[in-house]
């Protein structure tokens, strides 16, 4: 990799970082608007046209609020908790391929923060660390409700991580690669019909999305911050921007979970008829092959973000539809339903691969 592409790659990382933050910011707005529409209300419409600068107003509010430290709190860890939640949330978007590559002459810019061949494991590892932010914050608050919230978060995350990993293993068995970029490219072979993994793994996808809800602590699995039982759960004692960071981290997590789902199960930056479009552009429109490829790549970025937004919308839609689970129901669902289902899914996938019903994947790129 030349120095110049290294510089470009740095820029891509910065842009990915910025986009994650921006999307998380506007998720707070979108959540309220969607909640309002689902409940026949109007939603925020005061700050700017259609309330578009509402997140800014919220930020000002959060920043100017009083910083409060509960007595007996472990001060260092109390501050460290929300920071950790935010850091882990932001780190996972680094390996997500938001697009194929752009080519300017000799320079090739991959529209992905970093490409590592264990991308999926990386995401998985970072997600599993996300719970520390909640646990440390909840414990350091010196409040029993916070502690209960933290403990709920920990056991919930561990339980659902298992089913999530097992659901992913079925995908890995088909793909033969842990790299998110490879998995994306496999889902659209030129000259063949476009197959997203969700078609081959419907059961795995359902398991994965349920686990994604649990991992991001969203309703119906938002028991760590269940206000009817635990005041505010792990962030009961938090105020001002530390509280803001927790709320923010949740939205970054939603964004990352949506991105992972769209990459693994919904073809990522692929969209139907992309190769036909590329050859049409380069043959009958007289564009060079690089320019045609660049146009396809940019359209791919649009496609992946469309998918991500659809998933974010789905997260919010579910939140404003379903009531919260009870804790024992949550655990029963995780351990006695999802995990056996996921194992069954693995066996099924293995059977289908050995009998050749799911064709072997060609490394075509």
């Amino acid at each position: 990799m030349s120095l110049e592409s290294l510089g470009w790659q740095g820029l891509v990382i910065l842009v990915v970082f910025g986009i994650s933050l921006l999307i998380a910011t506007y998720c707070t707005y979108a959540e309220r608007v969607i909640a309002a529409f689902l409940q026949d209300r109007v939603g925020p419409d005061r700050a700017g046209p259609f309330g578009i600068v509402q997140p800014l107003a919220d930020a000002v509010k959060l920043f100017t609020k009083e910083e409060f430290f509960p007595s007996g709190a472990n001060k260092a860890l109390f501050i460290f908790g929300p920071c950790l939640a935010m850091i882990t949330a932001l780190m996972s978007s680094a390996v997500i391929p938001f697009g194929n590559f752009l080519k300017f002459g000799e320079t090739v810019v991959h529209l992905q923060g970093i490409e590592i061949n264990v991308g999926m494991l990386y995401v998985f590892g970072i997600v599993s660390l996300g719970v520390y932010g909640i646990m440390i914050g909840g414990w350091a608050s010196n409040n029993k409700f916070s502690l209960l919230g933290a403990i709920r978060a920990a056991s919930q995350n561990i339980s659902y991580e298992l089913a999530m990993g097992l659901a992913l293993i079925a995908v890995l068995m088909m793909s033969g690669s842990l790299s998110l970029r490879d998995i994306t490219l496999q889902q659209s072979v030129p000259g063949e019909w476009h197959f997203w993994n969700v078609v081959k793994q419907p059961l795995g996808f359902i398991i994965f999305i349920v686990c994604a809800f649990a991992e991001t602590n969203r309703t119906p699995f938002d028991l760590p911050e269940c206000e009817t039982e635990l005041v505010g759960g792990y962030h009961t004692e938090y105020s001002s921007m530390k509280m803001g960071l927790y709320l923010f981290a949740e939205y970054v997590n939603v964004f990352v979970a949506s991105a992972v789902m769209s990459v693994i199960y919904f073809g990522g930056f692929n969209f139907p008829f992309q190769y036909e479009l590329r050859s049409w552009l380069s043959s009958s429109q007289g564009l060079s092959i690089d320019a045609a490829q660049n146009i396809i790549a940019i359209l791919g970025v649009v496609a992946v973000f469309a998918k991500i937004f659809a998933f974010i919308f789905f997260f919010m839609w579910v939140r404003w539809t379903l009531p919260r689970f009870r804790y024992d129901q949550l655990m029963r669902l995780g351990w006695t339903i999802l995990i056996p289902l996921a194992i069954f899914n693995i066996l099924l996938t293995g059977g289908l691969i050995t009998t050749g019903i799911i064709p072997e994947i060609k490394q075509w790129w």
């Binding site: 061949n117 990386y122 590892g125 599993s128 520390y132 440390i136 414990w139 920990a154 995350n157 842990l178």
Partner: protein
């Protein structure tokens, strides 16, 4: 090299922190930091898979359970029981013995260094690892998995409700 020195320094420092920290929660957090530096070492060795799995399994799952239990027990400086002198001496002796064994075992090892001509940068990659694990070492691998399965069955047995037993 400087990265390696820095990582080793942090690793040793946080490992010391695990032992010396008064608060058990701090100890656990230091231990997690140690795992992170170890993972970074794996990355330096180009073993991405090992690094990721180390974080997922140790930092992501086992340490969460550790923290979980410690938070439940609410251990802190005041409630920590004073260990008798004998236990302290015994701990020091056994720790020293372990150190002795490790030094003795590693003394004979001659670091081969690295030869740029024969060095294979792909050696730690996940597909290579898989090949080795499932071809050359498939029997130990399967044995280990049976061991884990047995442990799993055992824990399910322990956790199962018995008839007539009260659950809260």
């Amino acid at each position: 090299m400087s990265l390696f020195l820095f990582l080793s320094f942090v690793a040793l420092l946080s490992a010391l922190g695990v032992v010396l920290a008064k608060n058990p929660v701090h100890s656990v957090l230091f231990l997690i930091l140690t795992f992170f530096t170890l993972s970074a070492h794996y990355l330096l060795l180009n073993a991405q898979f090992l690094a990721a799995v180390n974080i997922i399994v140790y930092a992501g799952a086992i340490m969460v359970l550790f923290l979980f239990v410690i938070m439940f027990l609410n251990l802190n400086e005041e409630t920590e029981p004073q260990k008798p002198m004998l236990a302290k001496v015994a701990a020091t002796v056994s720790g020293g013995l372990l150190l002795l064994v490790m030094v003795a075992a590693l003394r004979g090892v001659e670091p081969t260094g690295y030869n740029a001509a024969t060095f294979d940068s792909q050696i730690g990659m996940v597909d290579r690892l898989g090949m080795v694990l499932f071809k050359e070492y498939s029997l130990p691998f399967e044995l280990a998995s049976i061991l884990l399965l047995a442990a799993m069955v055992g824990s399910v047995m322990l956790g199962k409700r018995e008839t007539g037993e009260r659950n809260f």
